[in-house]
Amino acid sequence: MRERITFIQKQGDSIEPTTLKIKGGDAEKDGAEEGSDVENDMDVDEADLNGPEIQAAREDRLTIAIDELPTDLQALLGTAHELHIRYVSSQPYEAITPLLARLPPGFHLFYTPAREADATSPALCLALNKVFGNVQCENPQESFATLPRDRFSHSAAYQYYQQSVDFSPFIEYAKERLCSSSKDQSCASRADRLAEASTLDISYDAISHAVKLTATWPYQKQEVHATSRPQTRTEVGVLNSDRPGHVEPHELAISGLLTVLGQDKKPSATMFAFASRHRDAESSFSAEFLEPTGLHPTLKLNLKSSKPPTEDAHCSPHAYFTLPKTIFADRHQLSDDLFLASKNLTGLRYISQPVDLEAPEYVEKRWGSSLLLELSPPEHEKSESWTAQVPLHLRYLSPAEGGYTDIEVPYPAVFWACTAEEGTKFPNNPFEKVNLGYDGLFGPRTVFWHFEPRPATDNSLINTIKVPVLDTNKAEWVSGGTGLAVLLGFAWIVWKLFGVLSKSGYQNQPAQAAEAAKIKKKQ
C-alpha cells in the first residue's frame, strides 16, 4: 500500500520548509511515540507531518495492490479488465493547476469486462449496490451504455452514470473493510472526510494489478497535516504551480517540498515540469434552462470568453453531457446545419447509442445518454461572452401526486479541445487522469482547456426542471369516464345502424324497389 498526500497552492504561494514539523522517521524513531494519541503502540512506523494553515487544494491518493484488498472486492475486480469510478460533487469548486480534469457532477463509471460473460452477469451491479447503496443497474449489458471502442483503443467498453449517489454507504464500507482496525481513529476520520471531497476516483486496471483511490478537496484554507499508517509508504507534498522561464509553453511546472513520512527528517525541495492533458482556460461558464421549459427544454450555456486559450494550436469549444434517462437529445434534430448554427452549435460529435426517442422514462432500462457537442463561438477578434443553446427533450415520467415531478440535470463539462504538438508525452504527468468519457472521443494528442462551471442560480452544478406529469389525485375518474364515453359513443352508432337496418334492411334500396315491382307485376 502506498499513499500520496499533496497540498497544492497557487503560483507564488510557497511555504518555508522550516514551518513543516516532522515527527517519526528513522532518525527520531525513539521519540516518535511521544505525545502520540495512537493507542496501538505496536505500530513503530507511525510518523506525522504538521504545518501551518494554508490556502490550498488537497489530493490524497492511495494505491492498494489487489491482494491487499478484501476478498469480495478481489473477486469483483477479477471480472474487470478495467474499472473506473469517478464521483464529482455537485458543489461548485475551484480547481487549480494541475488538478484540472473536469467531469459533469455525479457518479460516473467506466468498465471493460475481463471476459464477454462478465458483461451480462449481475455481479458488478450487485457489488456496486453493496458498496454505494442505490446504484440503479441490473447488468452492464442492459444498464450501461456501450462506448465506441473502434475509435481510439484507450476508452473503456461501457459507461454508466447516475446523478445522485449517496456516499455514506461507501464511507461506512471503507471504514469497516479498508481501515486496519475499528480502533484506527485517524483512518476512520479520514474516511469521513470523503463526504466533503469534491472528486473521488476509484481506478483499477488488470495491467497494474492495483486499485488507485484518489480524492480531492477544493481550494480552501486548511492545515497541513498528514499521518502515516502502518505498512504504508506515505509521501507528502506541499506544492505550488510555478512558471520558470525554461519550461516549454505546453508544459506545467510544479515546485515545492516533498517528504516521505518515517523516512525523511526534513522536507526536500523539488521542481518538475510536464505536459498536462488538462489545462485551465481561465474562463467560466454557467448553464440554465430557458423558461418555460415545457416538454422540450433548451439548456442555455453562457460562456465568458470566446477566445481560444492558445494561439499555437487549432482549438474548438466543446460541451460534454451526461444526461439522466429523464431527458435526451435527438441526434436527428442536431444534424441540420442551419438549425445548429441558429443555436451556436457546430455539430453533434458523439451520442451514446441507442437513445430511444419515444419510450417513457418508466420503461427505459438504460441510465441515460452521453453526448459531445462542438460549440461555435462568435468569430470576433476581441473576446466576448456568448451563449450556445442545446435543444433537449423530456421523457414522460410516471404519474405523480400534484401533477409535477422535479428532475435534475447536471452541468456539462465545457472545454476547448486543442491539438497538442507532435511527440507530446502526457503519461509523465503525476496527476494524469484518463478515461473521463470524452477524452476517448478525441485523438490521443488533445489538450482540454476547461471552463470553470459556475452556478447560475443556487450554489449547485445541477439544474432542476419541473416536469408536468399526470396528476394521480385527479386520476380517479379516468378509467370509468373513458369507458363510459367510449360505450356511449359506440352505443349511439350501433343505435343509428339499427335504425338503418329496421327501416330499410341491409339491401340496396333500388334493388329492393325493383324486387317489389317484380312481385307486384307477378300478382
Partner: protein, 473 residues
Amino acid sequence: MATSPAPPRPKPSLLTTLFSRPLPLYLSAFLLRLVLLLYGLWQDANSPLKYTDIDYLVFTDAARFVSRGESPYARETYRYTPILAWLLLPTTWTAGAQWGPLAAKVINTAWFSFGKVLFAAADLVAGWLIERVLVMGTDFPSVSQPQEKEKQNEKERAGGSGNGTTTGTRMDPSRARAFAAIWLLNPMVATISTRGSSEGLLGVLVMALLWAVLSRRITLAGLLLGFSVHFKIYPFIYAPAIVWWMDQERLSGVRGGGGQKKTFFQKITSFLTLPRLNLAITSLTTFLFLNLLMYALYGHTFLQETYLHHVTRIDHRHNFSPYNTQLYLSSASASVPSSSSGLKIESLAFLPQLLLSTILIPLCLAKKDLPTSLLAQTFAFVTFNKVCTSQYFLWYMVFLPLYLPRSSFLRGKRMGVAALGLWVLGQGLWLQQAFELEFLGRSTFLPGLWMASLGFFVMNCWILGVIVGDGGR
C-alpha cells in the same frame, strides 16, 4: 332542406369556370402544391424552423441506407414497408461531377424533393380518381340508367345545382370536379403531402381500390387491397365491405333465384361467388407475397418494425385518442410489478373499433352505398383507435367528396357548418391544452387534455352517427 329557400340559379362565375373543364381545376391543384413545395424549400434553406416533416427525414434516411445496400430499418423509428424507402431512392441521387457547385446544389435539392413530388402527384391522381368515381356513379350503371336520365332531367329543371337529389348515381363531370376539389384544393391535404408525409400515397391506393371495385376490375382490386394492407395495415377494414357489396346481382346484373327460399348451404354457396373468391385470393396472395419477400430480405426487423411494433407500442404520449390518458396511466402502473388491476378497458379497446369498422358498418351500409360505408368505417377506425393524430384524418378525408353530395351536412347547411365548426373547435380545444403542456410545461393531462379528447371523441361519434344515417337512406 324544406326550410331553406330554393338555391338561385348560379351565374357563370369564377367557380363554375374552374370546374367546367378539367384543366383549370387540376392546374390550380398542381400550382397550389408547387407553390407550397417551393415555399417549403425556401423555408428549409432559410429558417431553423423546418417546413419538411420529420417523417420525411426518416423516409429519406432509410432510402439512404437502402442505397448503401443496408436495411431501411437501420434508421430508428422507420416503421414502414421497405417499398416506401425503395420508392424514395431517387432522393439519394446527387449531381455528377460535371456540374458547377450551384447547378449541383439545385439538382441535389430537386432529387431530395422527389418524395414530396411523388406524394403530391399521388394527391392529384387520387383527386382525379374521385372525379372518375363520382362520374361513374356507384350503382348499376346498366340497370338504373333510365331512372338516372329522368333524375338528371329533373335536376336540370330544378336549376342544375339541386344538391341531394342524386342518390348514389352518376354525376355530371363539372359537378364531380367541384366535389373533387374538396380534396384537390384542400390546403390541409396539399400541406401534408408537400411537407413529405406519405399519407397521400394511401389516398391514391384506397381511391384506386374503390374505383377498381366499382368498375368491376376485381383482380386489380385484389392487387390493390393486398398492396394497401401491406403498406399501412388499416385498409384491411375495406375487405369485408367490398366482399359484402360484390353480390351476384351487382356484378352480373342477373337476379339469382329471387323469391325462392334457400337453405343455409345454398346461401353459403351462392355467397361464395367467383368474383368474391377472386378478390380474396388475389388480395391474400399479394399481401402474403409482399410480406414473405420483405421477410426474406430484412428478416424479423421487418415484422417487428412494420407490424409487431403496433401491438407492443404503449402510445403514452398525448394524442387525440380518447384512450390516451388511460393508456399513460396504465402503462406507468404496468411498469411497477406490484400493482395489480382488474379488467383494463384499454385491452378491450379494439372491440368497439373493429366491431364497427369491420362488421357492423359494412353489414348495414356497404350494399346500400359503398363509398359512404368506407367513409364511415374509416371514420370509426380513426375515432376509436388507441392512437390518433391529425395525419389520420386524411384517411377518411379522401372519401368526403363521394359522401358529401348526398349528405345531411350539405342538405342542411346549418348542420354542415355546425359539424365542421365542432370538428375544428374540438381539435382547437385539444391543441390549446396540448400547447400548454408541451410548450408551457403545465400539467394539463387532467382534466384538460382528457376532457378535450373525450369531447372531440363524442363530437366525432355524433358526426359518424349522421354519416351512418345518411348511408342508410
